[in-house]
Symmetry: C2
Subunit: 255 residues, 2 copies
Amino acid sequence: MKILAITNQKGGVGKTTTCVNLAASLSSAKRRVLLVDLDPQGNATTGSGIDKSALATTIYHVLLGQKKLADVKVRSAVGSFDVIPANRELAGAEVELVNELARETRLKNALVGLEKDYDYVLIDCPPALNLVTVNALTAANAVMIPMQCEYFALEGLSDLVNTIKKVRAYLNPKLEIEGLLRTLFDPRNMLAQQVSAQLENHFGKKVYSTVIPRNVRLAEAPSYGMPVMYHDRSSKGAQAYMALAQEMIKREKAS
Amino acid sequence: MKILAITNQKGGVGKTTTCVNLAASLSSAKRRVLLVDLDPQGNATTGSGIDKSALATTIYHVLLGQKKLADVKVRSAVGSFDVIPANRELAGAEVELVNELARETRLKNALVGLEKDYDYVLIDCPPALNLVTVNALTAANAVMIPMQCEYFALEGLSDLVNTIKKVRAYLNPKLEIEGLLRTLFDPRNMLAQQVSAQLENHFGKKVYSTVIPRNVRLAEAPSYGMPVMYHDRSSKGAQAYMALAQEMIKREKAS
Ligand SMILES: Nc1ncnc2c1ncn2[C@@H]1O[C@H](COP(=O)(O)OP(=O)(O)OP(=O)(O)O)[C@@H](O)[C@H]1O
Ligand SMILES: Nc1ncnc2c1ncn2[C@@H]1O[C@H](COP(=O)(O)OP(=O)(O)OP(=O)(O)O)[C@@H](O)[C@H]1O
Ligand SMILES: [Mg+2]
Ligand SMILES: [Mg+2]
């Protein structure tokens, strides 16, 4: 089972869009997928067609030891993948977990025993390097870093890489960066091309060959509560995430 | 002295871009401006041309009571405004402040006595509704909400408005939403037009008439460490932030 943390503390780089659309693309390729929403904004929950206001229990209750993952699991409205939902309550977990035992391994322990149920677990992280994100990095065996090819996103990369190194040293020796995903990419933009070239120079093979273009269909899909492949299958956005799913499956087979 | 918290927990909506460019535009209109960077990413610090790695003390030390604002203040490289810088160390403040006395009023108390020095204090907030953001809302007398006209940004608005109401009720009775600023606006995008119309219907006069268009010069400027008016003064981005400064100055005079 691959447990993939989709993370970048820079805001608005396409973490949630990647998580939801990759979940749908992998499940349409017959993989069994669990999406875990670890962001109190609950965007991955809404983007999967789930009504946040109707939820009695969420990932918050799992992290605080009050519920098991199976108790809070729901099905995506469209696209046949399972979701561990989140809502605003999760914002309290950061402070409440600080003085608790095993505060960094709450998610990792909750996922124990699911190996036979899923092929992929995709974790959508909040835009912060906090205890909730550390839970994701401790539970994961791979990290995907969505990257908008702009200056502020590039600036934050070293802090993120340092945090991953620390988690690998103290909490999760298996943790590896699987790849950097170029998102919201506009090829006409000189800056984007320059940043993209810097990523390839610096990270080489760790940069996915699939590039996600800026495509308005990706921004529209969440308002219909569905992944883009169910909103407009022929769109560049839908095609790109299906290509990413294929690239990941090929990497699985090669390893 | 206007103390403006520039905040939205949705990531990547243009908080930092607004803070830096508004600081430059107001100071070019002969207002005395202090920019406070409250985000551990330190993007407003870098966007003002300040080298984060060379800083010995930052806003982190002010919030923990180790330094006064005047001790950590630096001058922007270009654009003649003062900056209270931030770096990655600030990420620790959230947890360290939790059990401290007056944890919500640290910034407010630090700003006491500056009324005669500045006309505007602009606070760049992190993408979260956490204790650091509550410090900004408690210190502020007005809130500006940068809003990308897309679904996930709209979804988060009610949580933000509720948080502002709570801070007003328990910590800062003067706190008012001054306005919502439409950012990264692409008029060709149907979704953006729909969301924009919803904002005007719901918030009326509280929506600034100035709209910030998507303009690549705004994304380029930070890589030169300067506000966009010093990178390309004739660009749509620079013109829009100068218009915003004028709109704010007019609102000041009217009140
Ligand atoms: N490739 C794309 N083309 C067009 N719009 C996109 C694309 N990817 C994401 N978006 C839109 O850009 C905005 C930011 O994306 P998203 O919310 O997925 O980023 P995020 O990193 O999860 O943000 P946060 O840091 O707030 O969690 C959203 O409005 C989304 O709909
Ligand atoms: N009007 C605009 N036109 C083009 N690019 C923009 C515009 N405003 C911001 N940007 C770019 O979009 C990205 C997001 O903007 P910015 O970092 O200011 O948002 P933020 O809300 O401060 O993000 P965070 O939530 O991470 O703090 C940056 O790369 C910035 O350079
Ligand atoms: Mg997100
Ligand atoms: Mg910012």
